[in-house]
């Protein structure tokens, strides 16, 4: 059996997820034993008209990108959304609460309408059907390798369905709520090994909600600790576009 051809594409993003993949070190060489990377603009000049798996980083924020996205969808048998921007809108979606015209005038006051942008930055699923995703900002590269291996074997991607709190507790951290901070750990998908809370930070929700998140329980926690609602709404909105909160 020939190795599946994998192509990487990027849209509105920081390219940090692809960069994380280039950081795979020796695992990258192992991965090349089971797949052929045929296109990866950030790292190579080669291009390919045929591929089996398309890995897409970035949000969909311009109509002119739609043609390219549809072409990718037609060519690939499996489309994988790579990272928070492609999966749930990501940081780009932060702007969705503001009117498009206001944004343009604010950032480019001298010539606000020179360029094109949509009303909202959306996950890739806002443009084409997506078959699987690798969550996170940036992605956890070990999880990326696992998802690719599972897809090549025709299996389910195998993402955890429990929240970050589970991994955080296993790492024996003091709950950040006890330290007076807000954290999205109770409702956000695990798989990152609670890297933020384990490094003195809080969960900012880059991996999206778990299936059936217990939102009422999260509200109870916030009431118990007397936390500021604006701050928690701000943190939920940091990575998840309103339109992607149902995406799981």
């Amino acid at each position: 059996m020939s190795k599946p051809k994998v192509a990487f594409f990027d849209f509105t993003s920081c390219e940090g997820c692809q960069l994380s993949i280039l950081n795979l070190e020796t695992e990258l060489l192992d991965l090349l034993e089971i797949i052929d990377i045929v296109e990866f603009r950030e790292a190579m000049s080669e291009k390919s008209p045929v591929f089996d798996i398309a890995v897409i980083e970035g949000s969909y924020s311009r109509d002119s990108d739609l043609k390219r996205l549809k072409k990718i969808r037609e060519t690939a048998s499996v489309v994988v959304a790579l990272g928070a921007c492609a999966h749930i809108g990501g940081i780009n979606a932060l702007r969705n609460s503001q009117n498009k015209e206001d944004l343009m005038k604010k950032v480019y006051p001298d010539n606000p309408f020179l360029y094109e942008t949509n009303e909202k930055a959306l996950p890739i699923s806002g443009a084409i059907k997506v078959d699987a995703f690798v969550p996170g900002c940036p992605v956890d590269v070990k999880e990326f390798v696992r998802v690719v291996k599972n897809l090549v074997l025709g299996k389910d991607p195998g993402l955890p369905t429990y929240p970050v709190c589970v991994e955080c507790k296993l790492n024996e951290n003091v709950c950040v709520y006890e330290l007076g901070k807000t954290c999205l750990g109770p409702v956000v998908r695990a798989g990152c090994n609670a890297v933020c809370t384990s490094s003195g930070g809080v969960c900012i929700g880059c991996r999206g909600l778990i299936p059936n998140p217990n939102i009422n329980s999260q509200k109870d926690i916030m009431e118990k600790y007397g936390l500021d609602m604006k701050r928690i709404i701000d943190s939920v909105n940091m990575f998840m576009t309103e339109d992607a909160k149902g995406v799981q």
């Binding site: 070190e25 790292a43 311009r62 503001q98």
Partner: protein, 433 residues
């Protein structure tokens, strides 16, 4: 080469972000020669409005995956400058060490993975796995060291976690510092091999003197503190960065550009090398000599070589910081909580691609009311185009279209542009579509 040529390289490869090269020559006359930026606008400055001071660096980090440490440093420093937060020596050491981790990863990625394939005639690093496996493995190992420095200091190199305004939320252990120190020492040998490889590369011999702008601090090769230095005008306060950057739009342009004393200026490794050479470490100066790089170098293709030289300095600088931290012991410092007030602050730092500025205005509740970010690649764009406008007419009679295309692609790559840092970059109308 013919009298009439058009070159259109769409989506230049092996750079971060989306850019196109357009050249149009009619009857031996250059009609057009430009670098277009086609990255989607992302509105970071507008997204920052209304956000709390503790979130600013988490958001701006996402401007760019490869420069995330740099954006966080500039962001945190702007906030600290605004609130007047006093910082410890250890805080400065941790910030510098994190910056060194980023330089290590970024310079290795650029010199080995993005630039070298051009010189050995390969389309990417992947075919090199078969032909130059030892070099690829060495590069991967060096890159990993950069990442591990980032993991140690801030939890992660891509979108760091524990650096906040006023301090770090996590301290490295002495054991970890010792382990990294050992690996940094080992890396020097690997780098010497890399330098040998770079020394064999034949770079185009192109000279164009321009204005070189970098951070400047008497007595050190400035990375995270200091004022602005222009090779034309001398020292300028970092607070007055807007007088230096003078952002502007041109009718055909695809991006906000900058200019100071001339039509364009250059930032990045070569600018730092030219301005701050005297404070490079001895081994970096030796590497420069071996590689034929001298202060006052006007060949932009040598930017890649300057990055290689900086890698030696980074090793020595990181070693000195870690040794000092180990001899003084790690203090468990908690981040300083600022007194909130209406205020404005500027952060100016040197990141791998050049000098980066962030400026924020805060209200008295700690929320941002105005933000501005000026990125290195935006500052370099006009300089790249000015280079192209000298290279193309000179090449018309002596280079084939294919050779010229490669010359121009290599030129753009030499600047190591990071187009993803798109907070100021505009979209473009395609002339040929």
């Amino acid at each position: 080469m013919g009298e009439t040529i058009t070159i259109g390289v769409n989506h230049i490869t092996r750079v971060e972000g989306h850019g196109n090269i357009k050249v149009d020559v009619q009857n031996g006359e250059v009609k057009e020669c430009k670098l277009e930026i086609v990255e989607a606008p992302r509105f970071f400055e507008a997204m920052l409005e209304g956000r709390h001071y503790t979130e600013a660096s988490l958001i701006t980090s996402r401007i760019c995956g490869i420069c995330s440490v740099g954006h966080q440093l500039a962001s945190v420093k702007a906030t600290e400058d605004a609130f007047g937060i006093k910082l410890s020596k250890q805080n400065r050491q941790l910030k510098t060490l994190l910056d060194m981790g980023q330089y290590f990863e970024s310079h290795v990625l650029h010199t080995y993975f993005l630039a070298v394939p051009d010189f050995v005639g390969a389309p990417s690093v992947f075919p090199l796995i078969a032909t130059h496996k030892d070099v690829v493995l060495s590069a991967l190992k060096l890159k990993k060291l950069g990442h591990d420095i980032g993991d140690m200091v801030a939890g992660r190199l891509v979108h760091p976690i524990s650096m906040t305004p006023g301090g770090f939320t996590m301290m490295p252990t002495e054991k970890k510092l010792e382990e990294i120190l050992d690996r940094i020492q080992d890396a020097k040998g690997e780098l010497e091999d890399g330098a040998k490889l770079i020394s064999q590369l034949k770079l185009p011999d192109f000279q164009r003197e321009t204005e070189y702008i970098s951070l400047y601090k008497e007595g050190e090769y400035a990375f995270i503190d200091g004022n602005i230095y222009s090779s034309d005008k001398g020292e300028i306060s970092y607070k007055d960065y807007r007088n230096v950057t003078n952002e502007y739009l041109v009718p055909h342009s695809t991006a906000k550009r900058t200019r100071f004393s001339r039509s364009s200026y250059m930032v990045g490794a070569l600018a730092r090398f030219n301005n701050n050479y005297s404070w490079l470490s001895d081994s970096a100066k030796e590497a420069a000599e071996t590689l034929g790089l001298k202060q006052g170098c006007y060949n932009p293709y040598m930017n890649t070589v300057a990055q290689m030289v900086e890698l030696f300095h980074i090793i020595d600088n990181s070693t000195a910081i870690i040794e000092d931290m180990l001899s003084n012991g790690i203090k468990d410092e908690k981040p300083v909580v600022p007194e909130l007030k209406n205020c404005t602050g500027v952060g100016a730092v040197e990141v791998p691609r050049g000098i980066l500025f962030h400026e924020y205005t805060y209200d008295d509740k700690g929320f941002i009311t105005k933000a501005n970010c000026i990125i290195p690649t935006g500052q370099n764009l006009q300089n790249i185009e000015d280079d192209m406008n000298e290279i193309v007419p000179a090449a018309l009679k002596v280079r084939s279209k294919e050779e010229l295309t490669l010359d121009l692609e290599m030129l753009v790559r030499a600047y190591d542009p990071c187009i993803s840092c798109s907070c100021h970059l505009l979209d473009v109308e395609f002339i040929n579509e």
